[in-house]
Symmetry: C2
Subunit: 203 residues, 2 copies
Amino acid sequence: MAFDYPAPFLQLARELRRLPGIGPRSAERIALWLLSNKDARPGQLSAALSTAETAIRPCSRCGFFATDDLCEICLQPARGGREICVVELATDILPLEKTGSFRGLYHALGGRLAPLDHIGPAQLRIESLQKRLLTENPVEIILALSADVEGEATTNYLVEILEPLGIPLTRIAHGLPAGGGLEHADQITLLRALSGRRPVAER
Amino acid sequence: MAFDYPAPFLQLARELRRLPGIGPRSAERIALWLLSNKDARPGQLSAALSTAETAIRPCSRCGFFATDDLCEICLQPARGGREICVVELATDILPLEKTGSFRGLYHALGGRLAPLDHIGPAQLRIESLQKRLLTENPVEIILALSADVEGEATTNYLVEILEPLGIPLTRIAHGLPAGGGLEHADQITLLRALSGRRPVAER
């Protein structure tokens, strides 16, 4: 008869294994560490998980992580009535925020159009975006979606339904990434970099 | 003003970062996944942690993970009165068990002698080993400690105090690991492999 770890141990390893980037060996190693290392504080991790799960919800306006009805960003009075930057996921907001160059509000769609996965406009936060545009009356709508096929399709769909509103509509630039040499860029990136070229004087 | 994730999110990421093999970026990625992915079940992971923490304790006899006073291995009646295999950590037991060739009991010391870290014989489960040997009267004591300096020192100490008991005392073989070519083995491994050579007929 072969022995194994007790059932609560195996259950913990199974749950850890579901985390992204954690394989079966890492999961076992982490579970062993949590249960046998003096410095491990499994209770604190457990509490942090429960607290985060109950305390964090999507901001009712933009979809970013919030502990109240509105998130920290939406609560800033100086941010309203300016640009609204449309992104796919709540997790796209902080990277943009960290550039330090955007002072408007965000709107996370919660994904992008993917007909094969049965995700159409009704599954995304598009209706709430349209309502926001009517009441908030931003000076510009910036579309900041992924530069892949589904992101493009979603951008095109949004352009179609948002253009009639008469609000200035822009999309973020596609081109050569910072530090990227021409020899490493793929054809589509180069094509977009070329077609998006701007007069030198404009800078 | 730069924004960041809400406090409960940051607390969760901090706790995740303490896990072995999880860096700051992985911790943030896992926290984002736990709080925004539909398939994530943070509550279940939290519950598994609490359950494992409260349900799992060291076996009072051998130190392996147990949910009762004795572990599954010690509860097997056929295992008593045979060999006792001494290992450093409870986590060393299952790898030996998986070889399928050992049918005795184990004894985890809880570490090895490390004077610089103030770990002497009193900090290890050596006294309880001596008591076990008197009452259980095993046919053999097998020392299966690490093949490094501290493991060797601990083995030598155990040999010194256990030899007077008159119980056959052995230690696991050191030599070339399975699949290891001579050209990749270090000098000490080769030295031990040479000095541990056995007559061909013995097999």
